[in-house]
């Protein structure tokens, strides 16, 4: 290590930004695993356009990756970056507004030619016209230095230039003392089939590292000590990957083969991609002709005794509504994963939002109750999927898993669970008649219910003697025959409702985090706002203001103690990335005058923003 000054910092937020073609997501991923391997706590936020590769150098083409890492546990990818790596003028223009004064900007000066600057509306190069005087700007000719570093390789200029992201990664790795082994191994693995390319990328990476060490431009490097984390084995994991793993774990735990019926849609497609790799687990993935075929095929598989799952996003859920209603009537297990994105309609496909809660609750004809669980962080998607499968199979019902674009693509360290301690979710199929006919004959009635759970008997095809028919017309309770009897319909509507309500007795009570114990304000949330709300509460408490936090895993039904918890606080604040959907349900059910804080901007809340709102709320309570 050079004799340069080393500065200790407790946390850093870096954002890599460039063209969709510059490989910023990959660069961010690599820096993330170096950081994970180093033992910092971390949280990431990828952000990319809906277009695949809008033309180079244009604003719509900018793709970015933000990483927050620290020597203590953190809950969000960070509000504003301390360091922006800008591969071209578009990347600078698109991101500079979010930088706090004094932030570091490392810009690829090779790309700041006049035309490139004008293309995004800079009359002159911002690196030179002083317009960035509020920031610490370091102009580095990343492209040419990369080409220079690779001149001995048998590569075209274009090919060589492509390695500039690795040069940048090397430079940043040096700046933050990242361990580089994992990246070197990765590059060898990735380009195993093209050793020359592998070598070139490694060379570029090392050139960047060495450049940092030698250049005058960087006088300091930074050290962020590892965070104290609970002992165990960790990996970094994104929400979609955790969700896919959770579904495979659920298949093991229930003993039911996993069948995924899905139609690709952003940001859910990666779950289909991941599950399609795991055929050795008996996982069947069916890329259907549309969302309706995806969910109905899953229902068909469930009828056959599989764990039927469908994955999609909001527009897909809309299309599946009718079929989910059939699932409610058939009373068969079905897990619907909704990776929410910006809406309505096509909306903002690559941005995050939580505006499908009420669709999940009510988006079907008639009284069609389903259970709903939500994931609160990327790694938590694993547990959420397991819980959904538990409820779906135990109660023979469709269950929603609500995730969102931020959880799907964001990542964090995950303490690997001990698979031997996974819950046993073994399902008992009906194997014998359960009813005696008038003439004493033994019969199987598909709608005979378990007294405790109200779940109906589930007999799968292939079981002798239990042949029966199910369908979407109203069923006589017990026999399951078609029934137009008014009282039976009223009974069945209430039974289906009671079955879902009954889940409240089968889930943990709502937990409150109120360190000081004397908070007057409760911040209630659900889903991916967990991190920002948590970080905000910490800040507020750090200011000496007491505040309580509670986060709902189950949105339908709510935990049994929810009403009683809410009653304890003089104000309940509900921040949501929608126009108050949870607030509506809470107000209707508990008649609590919950205060909404809504933002529907396609991005996660910033901790500072929420902290201010919470503080205000606390003040307003204090006032007589």
């Amino acid at each position: 290590m050079s004799g340069k000054q080393v500065q200790q910092v407790d946390r850093v937020i870096i954002r890599f930004a460039g063209d969709s073609g510059d490989g910023m997501q990959l660069t961010g991923d690599r820096f993330t695993s170096e950081t994970a391997a180093f033992g910092n706590d971390l949280s990431t936020l990828p952000n990319f356009p809906a277009e695949i590769r809008a033309p180079a150098g244009t604003l719509p083409g900018v793709s970015s990756f933000q990483l927050h890492f620290a020597d203590h546990d953190i809950m969000t990818p960070g509000d504003a970056p301390n360091v922006l790596v800008a591969m071209n003028p578009a990347a600078l223009k698109a991101n500079v507004a979010e930088l706090p004064a004094g932030a570091d900007i490392i810009a690829n000066s090779d790309e700041f030619g006049a035309r490139a600057c004008q293309r995004v509306g800079y009359s002159a190069s911002p690196l030179e016209d002083g317009s960035l005087s509020n920031y610490k700007v370091t102009a580095v000719p990343l492209t040419s230095m990369t080409v220079e570093a690779l001149k001995d390789f048998d590569l075209s200029k274009k090919e060589a230039e492509r390695a500039k992201n690795m040069f940048a990664l090397g430079l940043l790795s040096w700046m933050y003392h990242r361990p580089t082994e994992s990246t070197l191994e990765f590059l060898e693995r990735k380009f195993a089939k093209a050793p020359e390319i592998a070598k070139a990328n490694i060379a570029a990476f090392q050139a960047g590292y060495n450049f940092g060490e030698t250049t005058e431009a960087f006088s300091v490097s930074y050290e962020v000590k590892p965070a104290a984390m609970r002992p165990g084995t960790y990996r970094n994991i994104s929400g979609n990957l955790a969700l896919a793993y959770g579904l495979i774990a659920a298949s093991k735990a229930t003993g039911l083969p996993l069948f995924l019926g899905s139609y690709p849609i952003t940001p859910a497609s990666d779950i289909l991609h991941e599950l399609s790799k795991h055929k050795a687990f008996g996982v069947r993935t069916f890329q259907a002709e549309d969302e309706i075929a995806g969910v109905t095929a899953a229902l068909g598989a469930s009828f056959g005794g599989a764990l039927g799952v469908t994955t999609t996003s909001g527009p897909g859920v809309a299309l599946k509504s009718e079929a989910i209603g059939l699932g409610v009537m058939l009373e068969l297990p079905l897990v619907i994963c909704d990776i929410q994105r910006g809406g309505p309609s096509t909306g903002l496909p690559t941005k995050t939002e939580q505006a499908d809660l009420l669709q999940a609750m009510f988006g079907r004809n008639g009284e069609a109750p389903v259970a709903i669980v939500a994931a609160q962080s990327p790694s938590d998607c694993f547990a959420a999927a397991l819980e959904a499968a538990r409820l779906a199979t135990k109660y023979r019902t469709p269950v929603f898993v609500l995730s969102d674009g931020y959880l799907a693509n964001g990542s964090e360290p995950w303490l690997l669970p001990d698979v031997t301690t996974l819950p046993d979710l073994h399902v008992d199929f009906a194997t014998a008649p359960n009813h005696e006919a008038a003439d004493g004959a033994a019969q199987f009635w598909p709608y005979v219910r378990d007294e405790k759970t109200l779940a109906r008997a589930w007999a799968v095809p292939g079981t002798p003697g239990l042949e029966h028919r199910v369908g979407g017309l109203e069923k006589a309770n017990g026999s399951g025959n078609i029934s137009y009897d008014p009282n039976n319909h009223d009974l069945m509507v209430r039974l289906r409702h009671a079955k879902i309500e009954g889940i409240a007795n089968d889930i943990p009570p709502l937990e409150i985090d109120d360190p000081s114990g004397d908070a007057a304000v409760l911040v209630l949330g659900w889903g991916s706002t967990y991190g920002p709300i948590g970080a905000a509460c910490r800040r507020v408490r750090a200011q000496g203001l007491p505040v309580a936090q509670a986060h709902l895993r189950h949105l339908n039904p709510f935990p049994a103690n929810t009403g009683e918890v809410l009653a304890r606080y003089s104000k309940v604040l509900i921040p949501e990335m929608n126009l108050g959907q949870l607030a509506l349900l809470i107000r209707a059910k508990y008649l609590v005058d919950a205060i909404r804080y809504d933002k529907v901007a396609g991005m996660p809340f910033k901790a500072a923003e929420l902290a201010a709102v919470i503080a205000e709320t606390i003040e307003s309570v204090k006032k007589p």
């Binding site: 084995t233 050795a280 069947r284 069916f286 058939l330 095809p461």
Partner: protein, 362 residues
């Protein structure tokens, strides 16, 4: 791309392990003698008196014992429509699902349960109107399903609107001045959708219906059987000329594999090909009368035959238009799963979760 899959694709014949499987080869059978009665459920049949569905139900119940399958391994899935009430009347596993979706539901079931014989019951509206997309995709995937399409050329259950198979100009509740849509020809549509087995039969001809069911169930892959069915309430006698003893011989062209394509009393008339590839009637003893080949790899002859019938139903072919082997989606999926296990061993959850970069904190 996996080359063996590719030549399956290219030669349109099943390759690989499953090349010579038949329809229900993987479904457990029983030695116990079965009767139609066992396949009747205890439910009161609720079709209109005189409906063609009764005859189809009786023929189907009469045919099932022939297969000798364990009753609990038979599943009948339907959509919505009068015809779709069918499963309630069969003492097998069954699902009366939602409108148009039966092929997709059956796809999920058949793909995950090779040990089941899966039938789909659907109508001309259910299969060709709202369900058209699922039907054509099931056909191209060639999933192991037997689809019975009850074509009465009308929406029965909703009380008589025209359907996608209704003739142009049809006066119905929703078309008082006559319908405008040019109808689908279900056989042509299926052939255009890469179907491997396509046949047509008639509700009233139990012998023919049963023979077609036999062939359809022997075929591995998706079998589409169009059944002309009379709706005596909203479209009575739509197919009368094909049924009446006086007319049927002149109107029906009975297709038999390997036989010359002739029709009329004493086969006085035959079918030959025009220079433009279309088919036309000729004398029964004309040397150019075509010989039917249900196994032709190229669907052109079957397609030409599907165009033969005239709007007045004269020269309506019944029987099997096409019956070729091609790998089925469900068999290929099963193969991939076993290949994966063979290559990687049974999935190990702990190993999966800890795949990729991990680090340990003591």
């Amino acid at each position: 791309m996996s080359t063996d899959l590719q030549n399956i694709a290219s030669n349109g014949h099943a390759g690989g392990a499953n090349g010579h499987r038949h329809g229900f080869d993987l479904v457990p059978t029983t030695d116990a003698k079965q009767s139609a009665k066992e396949f009747k459920s205890d439910q009161e049949v609720r079709w209109c008196p005189g409906c063609g569905d009764y005859a189809i139900l009786a023929a189907f119940q009469g045919f099932l014992p022939e297969l000798g399958l364990r009753r609990e391994n038979v599943v009948v899935i339907s959509g919505i429509g009068c015809s779709s009430r069918f499963p309630y009347y069969l003492d097998t596993y069954g699902m009366h699902s939602i409108h148009g979706r039966a092929p997709a539901i059956a796809t999920g079931l058949a793909a995950s349960r090779p040990d089941l014989a899966v039938f789909v019951i659907t109508g001309d509206g259910d299969a060709l109107s709202i369900g058209g997309n699922h039907l054509i995709h099931a056909l191209r995937r060639n999933i192991n399903l037997t689809i019975l399409l009850f074509n009465n050329r009308i929406y029965g259950l909703t009380k008589g609107q025209y359907s996608p198979t209704s003739e142009v100009g049809k006066i119905t509740k929703s078309t008082p001045m006559g319908s405008l849509d040019y109808p689908f020809n279900p056989i042509s549509l299926a052939l255009g959708a890469e179907a491997t087995f396509v046949a047509r039969t008639i509700d009233s001809d139990r012998k023919h219906l049963t023979a077609v069911l036999r062939a359809a169930t022997e075929h591995r892959g998706t079998s589409l059987v169009e059944i002309y069915q009379n709706c005596n309430i909203f479209n009575d006698n739509a197919f009368e000329v094909l049924k009446a003893p006086e007319t049927r011989d002149d109107y029906l062209v009975r297709l038999e594999h390997g036989e010359r394509i002739t029709f009329g009393k004493d086969a006085t008339r035959g079918i030959r090909r025009n220079p433009d590839g279309s088919l036309e009637p000729c004398a029964g003893d004309d040397p150019s009368v075509l010989v039917h080949d249900t196994h032709a790899a190229d669907p052109t002859l079957a397609f030409a035959l599907s165009r033969l019938a005239r709007p007045d139903l004269s020269m309506t072919p019944i029987g099997i238009f096409r019956d070729v082997q091609r790998s089925t989606y469900d068999d290929l999926m099963a193969d991939q799963l076993s290949t994966a296990v063979a290559k990687q061993g049974e999935g190990d959850l702990a190993a999966l979760l800890s795949s990729g970069d991990t680090w340990t904190i003591a």
